[in-house]
């Protein structure tokens, strides 16, 4: 396929896929009870954003590589995020013996 040539997929369809993926991720992040799954859902939302970035890299008004490079940065930051997030999770688990989000309400007490 390479970097040139027409892409017949309508831009709107890819964006719609991204939007739906985002909403699914959001719903997961808001309702999952396991902290790990909340983190995973957030990854899903980041992926939805990446889909949009890559799509616009090719199908934007002036196609260029910036979108792809941005998505690379996003992937890197997401990797860092999940590493720190899971480390936090382990630390919390050691202290409180739970990975349930609802138990993490120290803020309230």
């Amino acid at each position: 396929m390479g970097g040139t040539g027409a892409i017949q997929i309508p831009t709107g369809s890819i964006l719609a896929l991204g939007a739906i993926l985002f909403c699914i991720g959001l719903y997961g992040a808001l309702t999952k009870r396991n902290l790990i799954m909340v983190l995973v859902s957030i990854e899903l939302m980041l992926n939805a954003a990446n889909v949009n970035l890559v799509a616009f890299s090719r199908l934007g008004v002036s196609p260029n590589l910036n979108g792809q490079i941005f998505s690379l940065f996003t992937i890197t930051v997401a990797a860092a995020e999940i590493a720190v997030g899971l480390a936090l999770l382990l630390a919390v688990f050691r202290v409180r013996k739970t990975t349930e989000v609802r138990d993490l309400d120290l803020h309230r007490r």
Binding site: I24, L44, V54, A79
Partner: protein, 175 residues
């Protein structure tokens, strides 16, 4: 070939279906381990989509980082904490209902916005890779135009690595 039924379109539909199916499965599974695996499916589907859009490097990176590293990391985390964990059957609470309604409305709104807009379809004559291979082109861009962000991200990764090690470390006094 009509644009609607080109090979690309068919591939796109299949990939989309796969991605959404995996995502919905992730939502509906009860066992945490299955959820993690379903998410891996989503990541791989996205990678396929990137390759379909001509972003081979990003696609491969997606497979390596997301589908490979992150999914494995998640699985490890599950093993280390509570690998038997399941999402219990939960009654519909007000919060859950609100979350569902909110996400649904947000999605519908976004779709309306997307539909109500005329999107550019790209310029077929422009080569985003400027005649090079995609990997080479990205390498050129990263080390020329994006030098400083690139270094910053490497710094960020180092910090995250150190931070993760320190946080996950077993400390004296922790029981």
């Amino acid at each position: 070939m009509s644009p609607l039924w080109s090979a690309q379109m068919i591939a796109f539909f299949l990939i989309s279906l796969f991605i959404l199916a995996c995502a919905v499965m992730m939502l509906s599974f009860r066992k945490v381990v299955y959820m993690a695996l379903a998410v891996g499916g989503v990541f791989i589907g996205c990678a396929a989509l990137y390759i379909l859009l001509g972003a081979e490097f990003v696609g491969i990176a997606q497979v390596v980082v997301y589908a490979g590293a992150i999914t494995i990391l998640i699985l490890f985390a599950i093993m280390l904490t509570n690998h038997e964990a399941t999402e219990p059957e939960e009654p519909w609470t007000v919060r859950k209902a609100l979350a569902a309604v909110g996400c649904f409305l947000l999605g519908v709104t976004l779709l309306f916005v997307i539909r109500g807009q005329a999107w550019p379809q790209g310029d077929p004559s422009v080569d985003v890779n400027q005649g090079m291979s995609n990997t080479l082109a990205i390498g050129e861009a990263l080390f020329k135009s994006y030098m400083i962000p690139f270094e910053l991200v490497s710094l960020l990764l180092t910090v995250a690595l150190v931070g993760a090690v320190i946080l996950a470390q077993q400390r004296k006094g922790d029981q």
